[in-house]
Amino acid sequence: MELNTYQQEAFNYQRPNIEKFGKKNMMWSLFFLVWILIGGYALYLQIAKGHIVTGMRDNVVWGLFIVNFIFFIGLSYAGAIIGGVLHLLKVPWGKPIVRLAQMMTLISVIVGPIFILLCVGRFDRLHHLFIYPRIQSPMTWDVMAVVTFFAGAVLFLYMALIKDFAVYRDAKMNIPKWKQKLYKILAIGYRGAASQKRHLIISQNLLAIIMIPLSIIVASILSWIFGMTLRPGWHSTIFGPYFVLGALYSGCGVLIVAMWVYRKMYKLDNYFTNKHFSYLGYGMMVLGAGYGYFTFSEYFTDWFGSAKWDSEVINKLFSFHDYGGWTLFANLAGIVIPILIVSIPATRKPGWIALSAFVMVIALWVKRYLIIVPTLETPALPMQDTRMEFVKYSATWPEWALTIAGIASFLLFFTIISKFVTVVPVSGLEEVNFPHEPHHHHHAADAMKDEIKTA
């Protein structure tokens, strides 16, 4: 593989990251592993004793697990849409961050479905989904959607990696034999011949074209698991688009945070520039505004109509004796703060944007909780149950442990993948991806001025 100067520069710069695991990374990985093991113990308890160890009961039949499922799978869909759009529109500044989006897509489509498995009472019978499938169930739609999407996500990331694998293969790096062999296999004989290039780009374009609508479809299907029931707060025509937008928004946030972390960890300031933070920040702002509009529209319609059952849920969400505090947090931190941070020039800086994105991501997790739990705590008939755990959901430690284990495995995957492939793609880089001379280190303020000039 021949590399141009930009590509060579990017490769040389990131080469140590994939040659050595590094002490710091090892420590982090071990830390994540400990949490995963604790989660493993919680899972063992859940299998041995049944779902009684969770906080779920006959009224609130779904809890943290479903919240996490929606959260992670949403990130996945967002990654595919963002990656697909950046690829198809050939946005010059998008090149360095496409891989990050694709990594997020694959990792979260692995972690997300684990949570739905945790929520199933009999995972020894999961094969029933395939031997007795019932097509009219939104759950079956979701199984088909996630499986299809998973395949797409693997291919989408892999296609984009083939050229890089060829680079790693030819680089004669100081790496173990098995790793060298792995690169060789994964590069599937790519040499950069004209026909290979053409086939690859056509496949990538096609995949990008498929992945964008597929993400929208699967995110909508996810929402329909709730939207298709008759429950207040769920049975809403806005739910499909609402989930698509919510997914995109939170995914944009995680992408910003991931960019910030990698930039710090691997000193990638030249590739994840201030400009990237600003641009993704703008994206986050626009998505946040759209998401805020949907949220308002949803609550306002239910509140104004004030049908009995709907009102019960709305009252719980807005009463400070109930979920009011969380609703306030979800909307302040999830909508208002990110928009303000990005729109005020003084705070439109990587650190601030990443911080607001981080807070927003947590707020969106809380929002998913507020979608699931209060509705389930509001059945049509009075509960009249003296068993408090049946009336009010409260997550137990195994549920929290498994949630943290999920987050830890998400982060562990990111750590491990960044030891196999360069976080910034090497092979696709061209001069147009660098509006500024890559060697020249900008002062943040200069970058700001440049940005204003270009804008």
Binding site: H51, V120, P133, M139
Partner: protein, 320 residues
């Protein structure tokens, strides 16, 4: 000869007849021993009422004894009884929350005390409205939201109107529980305690026995009893005749004491279905609690404390 007919008919009809006859025989003469494996006449004649209404005399050796929990094929459990359309009418004016229905149901299905397939709620439709007792079992909807969402066909709608569960197939996703607007379904969160005598039985969707961990269960309208020509235990146990059970095709419902025309009853007493506006088309009709036979307090005062606490908010508002 009548004797031959009864013995040689191996079809399902004959089988049911035999059960019915055996049941009659057991009640008619309590001395009947159960070891009748040999087919040689033992000269002990028993008088029976044949399905045609004739009194016949047969040798006790020719009686076939059947387990009451007969083994139905998967197909029979899923398709249900041809020509039937089970329906229930609940007379809210008669309920005083005696809770006999609840315990009878639990006993029949071998369920523990905290598992109520049939539960009695205390309803108050508006602030000014008087509270009334509201027994609620599965509504066996004709447009069941639970069946719609089941991903593996573990819960299904039968031709006789019943919505049942195959807990050998259920994966425990609980989607049906989330979808049911009536909080009808309950889940086996832990390994259920199962009495020894039913432990080894094959699961029967018509009885819901035995329970299995990680699966969903609910009221089944006791088709096993209907097959024997008996009423569901809740209907039988009710001291006030609150529940009328029957067949919509025959247009008859009975609470054990009186047998009425289903349409006439619903028409005369302004029967309604709970949350009709949801479009689920329940098979349970309620007769409004007008001209009530008991003051609502009668169902509250003598309750055990743990059950009493359920209704405190309504019965003693202001008290905490």
């Amino acid at each position: 000869m009548k004797e031959q007919e009864i013995n040689n008919d191996n079809g399902r009809r004959g089988f049911i007849k035999n059960i019915a006859i055996a049941a009659v025989a057991t009640t008619a003469c309590g001395t009947l021993a159960c070891s009748c494996s040999s087919k040689k006449p033992v000269a002990e004649k028993i008088k029976l009422l044949s399905p045609d209404g004739e009194i016949v005399e047969i040798d006790s050796a020719y009686l076939n004894h059947h387990e009451t929990m007969s083994v139905l094929s998967q197909h029979e459990q899923r398709t249900g009884m041809a020509g039937k359309k089970f329906v229930m009418v609940v007379d809210l004016a008669r309920c005083k929350n005696a809770r006999k229905c609840v315990t009878a149901c639990q006993k029949h299905h071998y369920r523990p005390e905290d598992k109520e397939w049939l539960t009695v709620k205390l309803m108050q439709d508006s602030d000014k409205g008087a509270p009334y007792w509201f027994p609620k079992q599965c509504f066996h909807c004709d447009n069941p939201p639970c069946v719609k969402v089941c991903p593996v066909d573990a819960t299904f709608k039968r031709q006789d109107g019943l919505v049942l569960i195959d807990n050998d197939r259920c994966i425990g996703c609980k989607f049906c529980m989330a979808a049911c607007p009536y909080s009808t379904r309950v889940f086996n969160w832990a390994e259920p305690e199962i009495p020894i005598d039913i432990k080894d039985l094959a699961y029967n969707a018509e009885t819901g026995v035995p329970a299995k961990v990680g699966t969903v269960e609910k009221c089944d309208f006791c088709p096993d009893r209907a097959r024997e020509g008996l009423l569901p235990p809740c209907v039988e146990a009710c001291p006030n005749g609150v529940f009328y059970f029957g067949d919509e095709n025959e247009d008859t419902v009975t609470n054990g004491d009186e047998t009425l025309s289903f349409t006439q009853l619903v028409k005369d007493r302004a029967g309604y279905r709970f949350l009709e506006e949801l479009g689920t088309k329940p098979r349970v009709y309620y007769l409004p609690p007008k001209d009530r036979q008991f003051p609502v307090e009668r169902g509250y005062e003598n309750l055990p404390d743990n059950i009493k606490a359920r209704f405190k908010d309504v019965m003693e508002p202001g008290k905490k």
